[in-house]
Amino acid sequence: MVVRFCLFCLILLLAGCDKKSESVGMDLNLALGGIPEAGFARALEPRLFEFPKEHAAHPEFRNEWWYVTGNLQTEAGRHFGYQVTLFRIALSPQPPDNPSIWASNQVWMAHIALTDVEGHQHLHQQRLARGAAGLAGQQMQPFKVWLEDWQILGQDNGEFPWTVEVAHAEFSLKLKLQPEKPVVLQGNQGLSQKSSAAGNASYYYSFTRLATTGLIHYQDQDLQVTGSSWLDREWSTSALGKDQAGWDWFSLQFNDGQELMFYQLRKTSGAADQAHSQGKWVAADASTQNLSLKDLQLKPIDYWQAENGTQYPIAWELHYPAIQGHWRIEAVVEDQLMVTRVLYWEGAVRVKELGSGKVVGRGYLELSGY
């Protein structure tokens, strides 16, 4: 999920190339993307992760996020996908020397989305706030990450269960998350190298299967839902190399209790980055297996065209020969484009067995740099 970091910085920078925006947003994007790395901590070597302490913010790093996605259904079988993400961006390594309660070097951004599979709808929103004056931040007693009234709440010290609470004019979510599997340290013991330069890496851990129950308020209805969520936590100061353009990132939960995380980094030439694309297989007993492009074959097979003409590969064929896995991964709704300050496609997918066509899993797909 390092990807998310890359997504963030890269797209922030790319957004600057857009047509002149009417609002100051463009400048914000530039500002948030152009922060020098000097003075920030770097992810150079594996570290000792201590839980639940690691759920707290790591402000000595430039970027960090709490990234929750999931697939839910009502008792009647109505299927929804959702995304709730809180990003922290440090503008400088040190807070400004200013006693004002408005002073902070931290900026927060949140994205929320709901995919209504039956209604073929994808709703999403974005907010920004300074990490000051109680508007946004992170605390441990009790655990809370929040941007205004969008928040992820936990127990004291960050213990589960957590609650995701977001509300917007079009929809609101109130979901309880409880891990069904232990934490997974991604990459090399949690150090996820993104490009060859030392320090172009993040610290990255996931909860790949969180039992989820709660309420979705949508179209004037309160819908009781259950399902499964995925939490990614990642922090870093720099990641992508100059020759990297974007990525295709998968988080899949199979019905038989296994999970797959894989990201394929793409070079500016369009080719996959063989050296740095990687992932992890999590078996039903929570044992894990590192993966690289040598272990998998990944091939886009269908595209959706956005209004601006960009083609997003929203259906893929994935082969994992070691376990005879052959799947088709397809978007549940074609248009799950996040039209926020940063433009990316992030949406719920279903996993079908190739041949039988049987649905064997669900997950989330993120496409950036297109």
């Binding site: 609002s23 400048d27 152009g34 400004p96 902070s104 508007l135």
Partner: protein, 831 residues
Amino acid sequence: MVMPNLLLRSSWRFFTRHPWQLGLTLLSIALGAAVMIAVDLATHSAAQSFQQSVNTLASPMTHEIKAVQGRIPDAFYRQLRVEWGYRASLPELELPLTIKGVHYRLLGLDPFAAALPASSLGALDAGVFTRLLTEADSVIAPTQSGLQRGQVIQAGERSFRIIALADLVQSDLLLGDLATVQGNTLGLSRIQLKLTAAEAQSLQARLPPHLKLESFAQQQAVFGQMTGAFNTNLLAMSLLAILVGAFLVYNTMTFSVLQRRQSFAITRMLGVTAGQLFRHLLLEACVLGLVGSALGVLLGVLLGQGLLVLVTQTISDLYVTVSPTDLLITPALAIKGSCITLVAVLLATLAPALEAARVAPVQVQRRSSLEQTNQSLSSKLALAGLVLIFSSALLMMSSGQQLVLGFTGLFLLIVGYSLLIPWVLRKLLKLLQRLNAQFAQAQWLVALALRSLEASLSRTSLAIIALTVAVSATIGVSMMIGSFRASVADWLKLTLPSDVYVSALSADASRVEGSLAPIWLERVKTLPELASLSTGFSTRLTVEGMPLPTLVLQPGAQSQRGFEFLQNTPSNAWQRFEQAEGILVSEPFAYHYQRAVGASVQLATETAGLIKLPILGVFRDYSSTQGMLVLPRGLYERYWAERGMSSLGLTLKPGTNPALVQDKLKVWANDLQSAEQSLVIRSNQEIRDNSLQVFDRTFAITHVLRVLVLIVAFVGVFSALMALFLEKGREFAILRATGFTPKQVQALVLGQAALLGLLAGVLAWPLGWLMSVLLIEIINQRSFGWTMQTYFFASIPLQALLLAVIAALLASLYPVHRIGQFSIREGLDGR
């Protein structure tokens, strides 16, 4: 199309052969238009400047929350935005800055709170943006401010550094991050919001009493209401310029028709119809009007720059602080001004054009018929004039508080009086001739001058009218301002009963709205010279839904002397005020809100919401045209939490030298007052002098406009007289041929000019006096709500007379110079 061509060429020849006449006609049209356009542009620009100061960033916001007193607590913003869900909200903190004597504002805002128009922040690069957010003292300044990149600005104990220049909306507005501007202080100046009417209503209902919600539209309306009277006064002055200009155009056109009677007769004989001639003359006026008003627009823009400075200064002195701004050149205003000018020119040409068209070709050859028509016309005009004057009186009496109708009445009076002038002139000249015949042993040269003037009245009376109107405006306005100033001086003597005042100034340094450290009170009480002490707290309370200046007074023994009570204020009013039973209101408040003693006034309080308080008395006050309230401190502290004071009034023991006490206080000020709070220590005499200076500054624009009206009139008189005397070339040649020396003819011309000026000056007296009465009794009260004493200044009519005579004499100088040089033969030939 032969005939119109003929007419066109004839006009062209006429005006090219009389370039002076053409130039001066255009100049008088242009000046009239310029004055009106300049006033219009200046007042609109000032209003625009205010609008910008309300909605500083031209953001799509509609409302703002402010604290009733001081700043909004920081925590309230989170409550408003997060808990109540008003997410279209922008917190702001504004600080005043003075850099090398120039006032600026530093605005701190949270750029993440709302999408701001790109124009409001300029094109900042990412590095600058990050620095603004992460450095404790970085701000940006507008490119057009004259400030430099890297410059460090001192604001009290704090300093800010300009890290970049950007194209910002206003030239006096520096921008920074909210945290930077706030530093070690607390609170917000305002929270701007985008609300629908329904949202505003529900927010209003849940707002704590120490905060208030105002819509930008409402603030704009209050500004419009406050400055409306002032703008109407300026508009009236500028219309006067147009009126005087119109008289002159009428005069010029009549004159040019007279001059061309022969050529018109010839064209008529050649087959040009009356209709064609009429249309042609209107076309000619149209062209003159167009060219004149085009020049007027150019002149108006130049003039407007100057007037704008005066207008913003006056609005800042009288109403609310308006930042100096660039003149906003609105094509619509220029077009409007040109149209009004054009209509005035066409109306002024209508009569002479009709006259020229109506007269039969043979008649045109004889001028006597025209003079005769004029004679019978003058009686009819006089009658019409009387009717107008009468209706003006009726209108004045029946129009209540209507300012515009008041001015309409004033204009009716001026026009009515003008219509009387030709008849009065005729009678006056007849009378003078008779007097000359009886008492002056029939001075033949005087007789000649008088007869010659009378004979040319058709051409001179309009110039005289224009001069009369302009001079009478000078008399009326000067008398009014003089009376006003004297009344204010009297009032100032009364209203400052203490000997020495210590006042904390507000941020914009022009109002006593700051706060004094409480320790002042203790310290001042230890002064051995002190006989009595009063404290005041100047603030703005929401009264009847409007922000109104209010003085919270803890009276001292001498405080009662500071009030001159009016309008049946009962004798026990002061005792009841001291017992905190009610409030005192100023005369303008009582006038605008139609409240008398005993009525009640609604106030929005901090602790009890809306309350009503009874009026105990009405006092004379010239400090605020909106009106003001005085609250006893006991009453104020019951409903408001603020315990501050902004001024101390010290009455000293008899025989004490106030200057010594002032020096002592100034020493104290150094250690009692924080550097951020500016403070003044002044004797009552200094405050009086200062107030009168402000008074004079407020009327600077009136003086300027009055002079402009005079200039328009002068140009008109100059052109009329010069043309008249030049036209009389043949008459002068006959005089010379019959034995007059050039000196005698010159004396004749100078005498006639002086007589014209004298007549205009004398005729201006009654009109000037009437105007001053109307301005004092009606226009001033309707504009500002206050009454004043009428004073008579003998010097004003004498100056006016002198002005008229000098104007007329100056106008005759060129013809006199020509007479000295001209040849009798050429004159007789009519060349």
